[in-house]
Symmetry: C2
Subunit: 568 residues, 2 copies
């Protein structure tokens, strides 16, 4: 109840103080670490309107409050917010799309927090919407937590390269550009570059800090409240340093806050080198990813085997706890990589549904459970979705699951030229659903870090993936996760992680190799809808799962696994 | 030999007069009718270096001449030009990509003809390449033909809408934008809007002229040497008119020459309304397209039946002539819609190969003939490619043909949500080839006009098709034409035209309906590589072909057709 009061107060205050007619205030999801996870108490959208999803934006006008969310979060948003106070708009919550929306509403002035919007984003809006006046107001709504963060050192045993090796590659880039400094504002890039991690975020080991690297080899972490032996500047010190600095500074326009960019006297935009370097896993990282997926697969197998006998009377959150138990038993386990999605029956039709004490429901027999979860291990990161039948699924469930599986296999088994865009690949996973007038409202795949963010740029498989970023390298890790969501009935998603590899016959083509090792529920497959190649792919996959996991589980689980992995 | 001399002279003169170090001159394929066909004598690239393909660009520096062509024309270019004098570069010949190339070559200044480069293109280059100085020089190399063009009136019987109806829609757009005039610079849009055509171009009935439409309903053709009863301004008169004009003029940045754009005092860029309106065929246009495809199919069937008995000793150009004969016999025939591609054996591996007196070769037994051709009929336009076996094809030919067919069917039988981009659809046609490390270096589909340009914007199916232009309407006509080209051996392409239609079950999804009616050579199909759905599609298609054409051919041809269309 306190929350509700505060919310009203904040919005009322804002309106009285700042919002005239034709004026709107934009408040995005994140803070000054653009694109990074936040802490629960930092959730501005939850604070403003009750929405708990992990992407979105709020716009406050004199008379209305809009919550913008994409298709993944639409149903959830409608359930969580007071629809009389907040209008939910299904629109990818980037500032550009929102400006388009606001222009139609005849908004003439938009107030934004220059620390929480990237230089790239605001510049594009200013070009595309000359009729709108953009007014920066820093720290408009600041919920940032101020606790001390302990910065830990990541061992080379897992990172594969020393800090010095990574730094010298970064410095080479800097020299090529004839610059004096490189400012790295993407916190996951900073953590990767300096081989550091932290425990403050619940699901990501990333240290929320910027870094400044000099052409002379010097480097500094930039951030407040960092407990570290590394050289560090506070934000205040850094702003002072910038004021006195005339050297050429490279920055990444996509992740640098607009406000910070404006403080740089002699800057040049340059794509974040770490972003690309870290997406292509080195040998050690790839081995770590392969290994942690075996342990993660064993945890999932234990859970699924347990579930078969114990689903009666259990709730969604029971599954979350049990899975956590099994993961915790695995060596090198660090944390979950995101809040587990455990959706029973119609709850799973909410794409990013997470059970809470409020909405938690009992598993429903003769229906589906959608379980999307992942782990951070010291040697890698996992992300897997399985949809399982409890009791006897309906023919429609089996049919839809098989369509989703056909899409998954079409993409997972695809070979493709190195220049192929993620938007092209995306279509392969949708085509079998499209044939029946079905589709899903989220991307098909995202990059995954090795002990970092479970959603990692720049590569993705999605209708909107830019053609300038084709999947063109080996050792890129991506999810493949088509789904189908029947509102008020059930949700289906089948997600594996894969890494790219050059095909044996032609180095100009890539193929996917599975990392995820968890059986796909055969009781949900209509085998007559699968063609020969699809059956072969599935049997090969299950054979691999059994081969890798049989030794990691107990006898009872092994028996269950053998059955789950038996050939069609 | 004269040509060679002139070429040397022109380039030498240019170098002496204009090209310093660090400087280059850009000469594109077209003239001031950007994106339109040209006459053979207007072919600047042929004049400069001997290349006869219908897309490309030349760049002349102090010491080098570069010819830029995309994958379709690479082999052809290497065969046609003197490689010691001209360097062939495989690069989509847009100015932007070329600037990227030139920047790497440290070019600091680029001279271009402001009449032959669009405003949009030059503006983008100026933004993206601030290090390059762009210098306009008009009529740098002017080969434009000056003959009088007779402007003919197109009957409403074929156009489906009167000039006044089309004009009033155009004027409504103009009023919505609160503009005084609309300048239409795409000649095919002008011809469509005013229901006019001409005979000067060999393959396109388009009148090469601009048009100016006023908010008051007045309109003028703009062009030199037009013989017409419609109101007309010469280019000189139009430039004078612009100098005295203070009204707001809408123009399309994609098709307006940069030089012309600079003469407009009060302009606003606005997408060409006709471009979009004409891509969605009206009922009459669609009926015309359906009907002319029956006649065109009959001509092709006659040719293929004749070929079966008469291929021995024939040359590629014999086929071109014979096909022309059969087309000419059809009612409402106007002209070919492009120069027929008749490629025997390895010649067909050159994607846009056209036989000439110089390279003409005899058909080769136990090999393939690739025949890509089309007709302009008063009621519509066709474009079809068939690859046929002469004698006994090899197993590799059959295998590759079947892969191409699988790709063709995958796309032709696809259902897809209205927002799907042409880049996504493109992947469906390539996936079966990709699985074997194969691909083709051209787009999968292009729009086709109804009695206009055989390549019509804005919709296309290609890896580079922009996501902002999804296939989202019914009644859009597009080709589907995957291929496979084995250098020095053979070429395969299977091309049909289709129109889009909402699926019976869901108006948010589209499907393709075949327009082209020509049997696909079954002797080239390995039926065991086709799955049940693919076989069903092929049998249905052949049944439709037979049903539509049986009555349009003689008894002997009917017998051949029945066999060609018999079910697997």
């Amino acid at each position: 109840m306190t929350d509700k009061k505060t919310e009203k107060d904040f919005i009322s205050c804002l309106r009285e103080r700042r919002i005239e007619n034709d004026c709107a205030v934009f408040i995005g999801y994140g803070n000054r670490f653009i694109g990074q996870d936040i802490l629960p108490q930092e959730h501005k959208l939850k604070y403003l309107c009750g929405f708990t999803g992990s992407d979105g934006a709020v716009v406050i006008t004199q008379n209305e409050v809009f919550l913008f969310v994409d298709g993944r979060y639409e149903l959830q948003a409608r359930q969580e917010v007071d629809l009389e106070k907040t209008k939910v708009v299904n629109l990818v919550p980037g500032l550009n799309g929102i400006c388009d929306f606001l222009q139609k509403k005849k908004i003439k002035k938009l107030i934004y927090d220059g620390w929480c919007v990237s230089d790239c984003e605001i510049r594009k809006c200013k070009t595309d919407y000359p009729q709108i006046e953009f007014v920066e107001e820093c720290r408009l709504l600041n919920l940032d937590k101020q606790d001390k963060i302990e910065v830990k050192e990541r061992s080379e045993v897992y990172a594969g390269k020393t800090r010095d090796e990574k730094l010298s590659e970064q410095i080479r880039q800097l020299q090529l550009k004839q610059a004096d400094f490189c400012l790295i504002t993407a916190a996951d890039s900073v953590s990767w570059l300096l081989n550091i991690y932290a425990r403050d975020l619940p699901y990501s080991p990333v240290v929320r800090a910027y870094a400044l690297v000099g052409a002379d080899g010097s480097y500094n972490l930039i951030g407040d409240n960092l407990k570290t032996a590394l050289p560090v500047m506070s934000f205040a010190e850094f702003e002072q340093w910038l004021a006195g600095q005339n050297g050429k500074i490279l920055y990444d326009a996509e992740s640098i806050p607009a406000h910070l960019k404006a403080l740089i006297k002699k800057g040049e935009t340059c794509a974040d080198y770490c972003l690309y370097a870290k997406a292509r896993k080195n040998k050690t990282e790839l081995d770590g990813m392969i290994n942690c997926h075996k342990r993660d697969g064993a945890a999932l197998v234990k859970l699924l085997c347990w579930l078969q006998k114990n689903s009666q009377g259990k709730t969604e959150t029971d599954i979350v706890s049990k899975l956590h138990e099994f993961r915790q038993e695995q060596s090198l386990f660090f944390s979950e990589s995101f809040a587990t999605i455990s959706g029973a029956a119609e709850n799973a039709a909410v794409v990013h549904y997470q059970p809470t004490l409020k909405n938690n429901r009992r598993l429903e027999q003769n229906n589906l459970l959608l379980l999307d979860s992942g782990g951070q291990y010291l040697d890698g990161t996992t992300d897997v979705t399985r949809t399982v039948a409890l009791g006897k699924p309906t023919a429609a469930m089996v049919h839809d699951f098989t369509l989703v599986l056909k899409g998954h296999i079409a993409l997972a088994s695809a070979k493709f030229p190195k220049k192929t865009s993620g938007s092209q690949l995306d279509a392969l996973a949708r085509a079998p659903l499209w044939q029946e007038g079905k589709d899903f409202k989220h991307g098909t795949g995202h990059g995954v870090a090795c002990f970092g963010n479970v959603h990692e740029g720049p590569y993705r498989i999605s209708p909107n993936a830019p053609s300038r970023l084709p999947l063109q390298f080996s050792n890129i890790v991506t999810s493949v996760e088509p789904g189908y969501y029947k509102e008020n009935a059930y949700g289906i998603r089948i997600e594996n992680l894969y890494y790219t590899r050059e095909t044996p016959d032609d180095e100009n083509f890539l193929e996917f190799v599975p990392l995820t090792l968890v059986p796909i529920d055969k009781s949900l497959i209509d085998v007559y809808l699968l063609n020969r190649e699809e059956r072969a792919w599935l049997n090969n996959y299950h054979q691999k799962v059994y081969g890798c996991l049989a030794a990691c589980v107990n006898d009872e689980e092994k028996k269950w696994l053998a059955e789950a992995c038996s050939s069609f």
